[in-house]
Amino acid sequence: MERGLRQGDPLSPFLFLLAAEGFNVIMLFVIEVGMFNGYRVGRDNVVCLSHLEFADDTLIIGEKSWLNVRSMRAVLLLFEQVLGLKVNFHKSLITGVNVSDSWLYEAALVLNCRVGLLPFVYLGLPIGGDPRKLDFWRPILNSITSRLSNWKNKFLSFGGRLILLKSVLSSLSVYFLSFFKAPTGIISSIESLFNFFWEGGEDIRKIAWVNWDTVCLSKEEGGLGVRRLKGFNLTLLGKWCWRMLVDEGLWFRVLKARYGEEGDRLKDGGGNSSVWWRMLSGLRRGEGLDVGS
């Protein structure tokens, strides 16, 4: 990587994968010799999580100990030396769960990085937030509003507005909705933003000439083929229920270790399970499936 690559070069993800694999090897070695203790999930068949990598987003998970902090620093420095890929410690965050602030600040000082707060963003999703709260959805609401209330949109034709509406729906919300269940209030406030389709704005509401239910029908049935958010949200989440049965990936093993299996299916979470798992097991039992027509 002496010469460097231009921003957006298609080669860079591949080069990065090579580097990320190097990091993976170093981490595995450090764990093997016992210099780093990953986070252990579950009581009986333990799954040990130490690092997650996706493209250029890396997450290192470990128990709270000075040994871990020191070897984390050593690994990252070693990684820099070996592969020549500089780690920007200022852009890195250290976040604690049930760890005192003072300890966290000392660790941040050693690692020369910043202290992050929950929820933090990994791969564009806020981790550690509560999807039942309105604040959690604020960023996505804001991004939709800013896309729709752009001054250029006043000069779009009906067709252009339809295309924009569909693209905003599919690109902005799908990623969130495939992981979190949106509260009804959020869904209705997102859908009320779509009054812009009838040339309405943030303050001005125009006549919606066609009922929103009709607009959401497919084109064959006499609608415009716009997605209905609630049904789409549930279907996207249903994919998790399906993958729970056919997939044996890391996420499944973590869930299995945390909640255990009963017969051939994962146990429903009790009161002390995560919000996400409670939502998913509720969905699995068929809660909230009154999508309507």
Binding site: G160, I207, W209, E221, R228, F232, W242
Partner: protein, 247 residues
């Protein structure tokens, strides 16, 4: 409840239960009174009912010894769960009305805005004066058609039956050299015009495009008359129909 690994998944998801069977009960027999039903204690009445229901569900299930167990998604047995298919299942309406007619609004070589215009037209959701009156928009105190014929303006009247704009359609019929008696309603007009007997499907889509262009031109002209008080004559309008439908 049962001594077998039987799961009925997604009962709430799909209208009818989906029995998914695992191997352990092969050969036990699960008919009524079969060896598969062994109870530790006497069943309550409602449990008896659900056992009956269960065994009726299982009555036409045949197990194969050799093949491995796997999950099957009943909406799509080959490729499993897909978000698209499930979403369509959820949102499919029970009443399919005039399927083909609304489909006629979407043509490849017509601009999207015109397609949406036609879609609103077919639903009678254009801001014509009578529609505005229904929604109590106070601006329009007269509901006279812009063509100057003195009749109240409704969608059907404006586009097809007005003395002035109706003339445009006669010119269009002459131009494409057909004999056509226009029916009463908008939908039937599109249906009959767009599916002219004795012509190929390829021609049908062109006829539909001409129909789209005709409506669009009339609507534009009507708006021009109302908002900027400029009017064109029919020959001019016909030219713009030709221009639009060949664009």
């Amino acid at each position: 409840m049962l001594g077998v690994s039987l799961m009925i998944m997604f009962v709430g998801w799909l209208g009818e239960p989906v029995p998914l069977i695992f191997g352990q009960i092969i050969g036990w027999g699960w008919g009524v009174g079969g060896g598969g039903w062994v109870w530790r204690r006497r069943l309550l009445a409602w449990k008896e009912d659900s056992v009956m229901e269960c065994s009726s569900l299982l009555s036409n299930v045949v197990l194969q010894d050799a093949s491995l167990d796997r999950w099957r998604w009943i909406l799509d047995p080959t490729s499993g769960y897909t978000v698209k298919g499930t979403y369509q299942y959820f949102t499919k309406s029970d009443t399919l009305l005039e399927t083909g007619l609304f489909y006629a609004a979407w043509l490849k070589y017509v601009p999207l805005k015109v397609s949406i215009f036609v879609w609103r037209l077919l639903r009678n959701r254009l801001p014509t004066k009578d529609n505005l009156l229904c929604r109590r928009i106070p601006y329009h105190d007269d509901i006279i058609c812009a063509g100057g014929c003195g009749c109240p303006e409704t969608t059907c009247h404006l586009l097809f039956r007005c003395n002035f704009y109706g003339g445009l359609w006669h010119l269009i019929y002459q131009w494409i050299d057909i004999d056509f008696t226009p029916p009463e309603s908008v939908r039937e007009h599109l249906h009959q015009f767009g599916n002219m007997a004795g012509l190929s499907r390829f021609t049908h889509s062109f006829l539909k495009a001409i129909w789209h262009a005709g409506c669009w031109v009339v609507w534009k002209e009507r708006n021009n008359i109302i908002f900027s008080h400029t009017a064109k004559d029919l020959a001019n309008l016909l030219e713009s129909v030709k221009f639009l439908s060949f664009a």
